[in-house]
Subunit: 174 residues, 2 copies
DNA sequence: AGTCCTGGTTGCTAATTAAAACCACATATC
DNA sequence: GATATGTGGTTTTAATTAGCAACCAGGACT
């Protein structure tokens, strides 16, 4: 199932999720799942990937708790694949990806689908990262920082380097 | 450079960006670039990946306009790799990924770094998708829809199926 | 009974990945 | 001036992976 980036030193908060998703196909499967697809054949036809690959990806996603494999709801003896809560948590990521795509991957005059608010029928707003007090934050306005270490936890995880260092910029940004 | 998911039927607004990014390593490189890393050796040491892989990924990212390769600013005759505007556009995606990771990939008591607003020193807000009028939107509240087709463009791209069909749910969600 | 559809698994081969060795250039050191 | 050392890669090579195709099994339809 792919060597992937495991053996990463830190397996930080970005690498870990990547490892769970698996690969691009998985992300497209998840997107299709958000779109209401549930059956093996639906995914396969829609994505056009080999069946063994699809089977492997679905297995992996199920193993990581992103998709749940449930008995088909229509009486057929097959499985349906539905997003778990964890899987549904990927919604912002997919939206971010899509918005980035809309921004940079289409000619100005090239027609492309866009995400609209179902109720109002209008395009959605752009995703924005905001501070607690509502300012929009860009890359320079944020830092990755270790949380304040409560004394009780200070000795619980001696192995990971996350404790004290790196409260500023630099490697091991997690 | 990986067969990837090219040969996808539609290369929709999600698949296209994925294709450009390349793979997980690339995303980690981008994350490190956001973190201020610029030199080949910095990336290599920080990520622990083979040099040829790093070189290939950097080439790919440069080719896709995500990273720019500029002469080093410190007088050395080497290159520095800095994010382009397009690359910086990936910030929300990385934040989404990180927040998802924070939600589902750490034990409740497991310490992990988190993203804080540099100025206030407080954790950032959660990314939320909102409608034009400010409602928070979940997966069910959105649809992927073709934009209204202006007559001039109606015949410009006969090949792509994006024209009329699929204004609702279903495949080819782009 | 035969055929088709769904939902996979199993082999196989070609293509990719990644580790390691190598190389060129520059700077620092003796 | 010769030698080590760090940077920024490329080439070589072995192992892994992807994806095609074939196969298989249960059910439905004819």
């Amino acid at each position: 199932m792919a060597k992937r980036i495991s053996h990463m030193h830190s397996m930080c908060g970005v690498a870990r999720p990547l490892d769970a998703i698996g690969d691009w196909w998985s992300l497209l499967i998840i997107r299709d799942a958000f779109d209401g697809l549930r059956r093996f054949g639906e995914f396969q036809r829609n994505l056009g990937l080999a069946k063994n690959i699809l089977a492997a990806r679905l297995r992996n996603l199920v193993a990581h708790g992103i998709i749940d494999s449930v008995p088909a709801s229509d009486g057929t003896p097959y499985q349906e694949y539905v997003l778990t809560e964890k899987g549904r948590g990927l919604f912002p990521l997919l939206v971010a990806l899509r918005q980035w795509g809309e921004d940079f991957f289409f000619e100005p005059d090239e027609a492309h689908v866009l995400l609209v608010d179902r109720k109002a029928g209008l395009p959605v707003r752009r995703l924005e990262l905001r501070s607690q007090d509502g300012r929009v934050l860009g890359p320079e306005d944020t830092v990755v920082r270790s949380p304040p270490v409560s004394p009780a936890k200070a000795r619980s995880k001696p192995g990971r380097s996350g404790g004290a260092r790196n409260s500023g910029r630099g490697p091991e940004s997690g």
